[in-house]
């Protein structure tokens, strides 16, 4: 039995309605409890800000394309390196750090749980191998279904149950967590070098539309009773005028779940552009957020960009090629048979580019205009908008109008006419930031019941203590302290154990991987379906029996079994 007592913690725990109370937190064997004995180890939080461990609900840190981002970028590897130090391994990389680099940097920022944004089922084993080498966070994987042939066939047959059965089999096989759609239909079209340009275009050969794929998958998701909703990267990412596609998409969403949203739209900054070309691009955050504010069954994340160098990587192969045609730096692409695609290019976001300035403003506008912080979560779509180490700067920007004004003064002067940002006075408070960085993620991902994202007795003892006294600083003026405070915890506690102190990771980690296994009836178990097996054998280049990820790849797997309506 191991016991820990955190004394004098200034706690913000939005899921339990605690907002700045100074209290003690008792921990036994990795869980929060009512109280502990007198021999418990004691940490004095000294009235500093104490939050549930951070949760990133959309980040790219592990798997085939992330690793290819490293592989092709020795210049990025050189741009951030540390040597072996105590229990810390060597790390390399700035925008696409090595797995240990990601894990240590997230940990010292107080993050204890991550959702990898995109995993191709065929290459899932790779993602899980890297999860094991990201030891300080519990990991989950969005599983890609955007171009899945069996799904599209079911959609064409208007057979939601069949689509759900496909998801159930693949999710269990890939040990994935949630349904991810990246440019649905577009990644299949990219198999022919094409793309779709609206949610009503048809996908070559399969004769289904993105709208049909999205709607079917939202329903299939609920049939399977998955913890998270469908996680969508809309069509037309990064295209001027794409806000219309985004609005069309949001209009499709039925409200099917009382506990959480029915659709999670990721990195919405990249999907809120007006204009017709790069010359006249402008912000449509107001139109977008108006719909979000009126749609409690929708949750979004920001996808904030920050100025500087980074690497873009996504399953959206056609988008990366378009981006490459603009930047002409280097370009990688990786289509995955029967399932999806991906692309990678390095970028530099510059304050001298009015397009980049507009993008920067839009992300902030989304967060500042969203009435309900539970509906707009803080992300950069790491590393697409910026590496996650920029989160503290984003928090500071959201909390301080003065800081925003200071930054806005440095932008391309044409920006002001194209974005509403300069006219927005709102400054977010500590509680709202806590929602946007952990509590909201926990609810949106459906992992509240696993004890994630809150600190009530029974919760997982993942805790972040920041060197910030909320009663003593004015974030509006002292934004530098906000930034510094969120960059480095005094203590990061993972499952009841102090894993990082003052910016240094002090133990070897032992994370879990959370995955979902929907239980379906015999009739809907595709493992018994000869037709499915036959097609698998014919068209995949891996045998069906060699496809599922063995449990040995999840040394500390946590399986959520759901009772599907199938």
């Amino acid at each position: 039995m191991s016991e820990l007592l955190i004394k004098n913690a200034c706690v913000i725990d939005p899921l339990n309605g605690i907002n700045g109370d100074v209290m003690d937190i008792a921990i036994r064997d990795g869980r929060i409890v009512e109280d502990v004995g007198s021999s418990a180890e004691v940490i004095d939080a000294d009235r500093c800000l104490t939050l549930p461990g951070g949760i990133d609900s959309h980040t790219h840190v592990c798997g085939t394309k992330v690793n290819f981002g490293r592989y092709m970028s020795p210049e990025d590897m050189r741009a951030g390196r540390t040597s072996r130090n105590g229990s810390m391994h060597v790390t390399s990389g700035y925008s696409v750090p090595t797995t240990f680099g990601n894990s240590y940097r997230y940990s010292t920022m107080g993050y204890t749980t991550l959702l990898e944004g995109a995993m191709a089922p065929l290459e899932a084993r790779h993602t899980h191998e890297e999860f094991t080498a990201t030891p300080h966070q519990d990991m989950m994987a969005n599983t890609l279904f955007d171009g899945n042939w069996s799904v599209m066939e079911a959609v064409r047959e208007k057979d939601v149950k069949r689509a759900a059965a496909v998801v159930a089999w693949i999710l269990s096989a890939a040990k994935g967590f949630a349904i991810k759609l990246t440019n649905p239909g577009g990644t299949e079209a990219w198999g022919w070098g094409e793309d779709v340009s609206s949610i009503h275009d048809t996908v070559p050969y399969f004769e289904v539309t993105p709208a049909e794929i999205i709607e079917t998958m939202i329903r299939a998701n609920e049939l399977l009773r998955l913890p998270h909703s469908v996680h969508l990267h809309c069509n037309n990412l990064g295209v001027p005028g794409n806000y219309r596609t985004t609005l069309d998409t949001m209009n499709l969403v039925p409200d099917l779940n009382s506990r959480r949203q029915s659709l999670y739209l990721t990195h919405l900054q990249f999907h809120s552009y007006g204009g017709t070309t790069w010359r006249d691009i402008d912000s449509r955050s107001e139109e977008i957020i108006r719909v979000v504010n009126a749609s409690p069954h929708i949750v979004i994340d920001m996808g904030q960009i920050m100025f500087g160098r980074t690497t873009t990587m996504t399953a959206d192969g056609p988008m990366e090629f378009k981006l490459y045609m603009l930047h002409h730096n280097k370009w990688s692409n990786h289509d995955v048979e029967l399932e999806t695609g991906s692309g990678i290019i390095p970028v530099y976001y510059s304050k001298k580019s009015v397009v980049n300035c507009v993008m920067w403003a839009i992300g902030l506008e989304l967060a500042l205009q969203a009435k309900n912080p539970w509906q707009c979560l803080l992300t950069t779509d790491n590393p697409n908008g910026a590496p996650f180490v920029k989160y503290p700067e984003i928090i500071a920007l959201l909390m301080s109008k003065r800081y925003r004004d200071q930054e806005c003064a440095l932008l391309d002067p044409r920006t002001e006419k194209r974005v509403p940002l300069m006219a927005i006075d709102r400054e977010l408070d500590w509680n709202e930031i806590a929602i946007m960085t952990r509590a909201g993620q926990s609810r949106a991902l459906g992992i509240e019941s696993l004890g994630k994202g809150h600190l009530a007795p029974g919760a997982e003892a993942d805790v972040a203590i920041y060197p910030i006294r909320t009663t003593e600083i004015d974030p509006s003026a002292q934004f530098q302290q906000v930034m510094a405070g969120f960059s480095r915890t005094m203590y990061t506690i993972k499952r009841g154990r102090v894993v990082a102190r003052n910016g240094e990771v002090i133990v070897e980690g032992a994370n879990s991987t959370i995955w979902v296994k929907p239980r379906v009836s015999h009739e809907y178990d595709l493992g018994n379906d000869p037709e499915f097996a036959k097609k698998f054998q014919q068209y995949y280049t891996v045998r069906m029996r060699n496809y599922p990820v063995q449990e040995t790849y999840l040394p500390r797997g946590v399986c959520i079994e759901t009772e599907a309506d199938l």
Partner: protein, 427 residues
């Protein structure tokens, strides 16, 4: 007993459809595999116990003593080199990297003498690729450039390209065009629709000529380029541009000929140009079954696919400096651990001489050329036969290899982990 869906751990195709028949601890028959696979699964003459040099002779030693000796050699060294890794599973590669980190060693894999230049080209311009099933299901044009799959990857054409029926090509052999570029008429060239015989060392010029045509600048070309008629080049460029899905595969004939990484860069840029007209991908024909896995594992732990030097504490990569051949040529390393490869058969003579001068340890099931340069050899189980573990196919698809028989040999990871634990205690 017959075991199905067995993974062949010989070449980068990583075929996973073998049917292997075993009797006791012997493989007695292999179905579906090519002759290389049969040789791998049916071959024996494994080394029985660890052996250690004792003056001019070999002496049998126990496993524990061998492990102690290996750890001692590595701990004593100032600049150890840990080389090989393409013939073992990912779990062993992981231990190798962590060991290198602790020792401040250089760790390098066989890419250093095969597709290293391809990796360097990718680091300059990227890599538009895909999984092999994408090719099988869609590609109506296949290009093999400086590659002879019939010899080196015997089932590549039947499983993934020329003869592989796919979803959009029900009669692949008739519907697909195959273009082969090589300096001689290989067996693969014999089945090509278009065979381009390029002058040795002139691939770069040929690629540039094709790029010019694709860009609409064919006029500037002379009547022949690199020994090839302009008409043929125009015809071939046309086939490529009118493909629905084209897939180029290149081998060491392009990577290791004059121009080296510049050739690959040019080929990638040609592929990129073709993508402005249609869909085109390019992929290296990776040789050893898990060489790509060693690139992947090295990359997620260190940031670099090969030639990683930990001497400064951080991970440092500079091909030409931190690559094994260069380190050996400079006589720089003072101990070497070889795992899952045979540098004695592939490295230049002066490198081999240096390997023989320093304490070289080999972890390998078989006696091979490197044995003769080594002071100590520890035989291990063969991954895919009597050990299992992760491998990455040439296109990056990760597959778990199977164990089909039980033997008393320890696996690579077991041996390496024992050495690692000793080193950990001492550092």
């Amino acid at each position: 007993m017959k075991i199905e869906d067995v993974v062949c751990t010989f070449c980068g195709c990583l075929c996973d459809d073998l049917v292997v028949e075993v009797e006791g601890d012997m493989v007695v028959n292999v179905e579906n595999g090519c002759t290389l696979a049969n040789k791998k699964f049916m071959g024996n003459n494994r080394l029985k116990t660890p052996i250690k040099r004792d003056g001019g002779n070999w002496k049998k030693v126990g496993l524990d003593e061998a492990i102690q000796t290996a750890a001692g050699i590595l701990l004593d060294a100032d600049r150890p080199l840990l080389y090989g890794w393409s013939g073992t599973h990912g779990e062993a590669q992981t231990i190798g990297v962590h060991m290198a980190e602790l020792l401040g060693a250089v760790i390098d894999n066989t890419s250093t003498v095969c597709h290293g230049p391809s990796i360097m080209a990718i680091q300059e311009v990227g890599h538009p690729g895909c999984t092999l099933g994408q090719v099988k299901n869609r590609a109506d044009v296949i290009v093999y450039w400086g590659a002879n799959p019939i010899e080196a990857h015997p089932r590549h054409m039947s499983r993934y390209t020329t003869y592989a029926d796919g979803f959009f090509l029900k009669e692949a052999f008739r519907e697909r065009k195959v273009i082969v570029v090589d300096i001689r008429k290989t067996e693969t060239a014999n089945i090509a629709d278009e065979f381009i015989m390029v002058e040795p060392g002139a691939d770069y010029a040929l690629l540039s000529a094709l790029r010019a045509i694709v860009r609409g600048k064919g006029d500037v070309l002379p009547r022949t380029v690199a020994g090839v008629e302009k008409e043929q080049l125009i015809r071939v460029a046309d086939i490529c541009m009118s493909a629905k899905f084209g897939a180029m595969f290149f081998g060491l004939g392009l990577t290791m000929s004059r121009g080296k990484y510049k050739n690959i860069r040019n080929a990638i840029e040609l592929t990129e140009e073709l993508n402005r007209h249609t869909k085109f991908t390019i992929s290296p024909m990776r040789g050893h079954w898990n060489v790509y896995g060693s690139n992947e594992v090295f990359t997620w732990i260190t940031g670099y696919p090969f030639a990683v030097d930990f001497a400064r504490g951080i991970a440092f990569y500079n091909p030409g400096e931190t690559t094994s051949v260069d380190i050996l040529k400079r006589g720089e390393c003072d101990a070497c651990l070889v795992v899952g490869s045979d540098p004695g058969a592939h490295f230049p003579g002066d490198c081999c001489r240096h390997l023989a001068d320093i304490p070289t340890i080999q972890i390998d099931p078989h006696v091979n050329a490197t044995t003769h340069l080594s002071r100590l050899q520890i035989p291990v189980a063969v991954t895919g036969i009597d050990a299992e573990g992760t491998a990455y196919r040439m296109d990056g698809v990760p597959i778990r290899t199977r164990k089909v028989i039980d033997t008393t040999y320890p696996s690579d990871s077991e041996v390496l982990d024992k050495i690692y634990q000793i080193i950990r205690k001492e550092t």
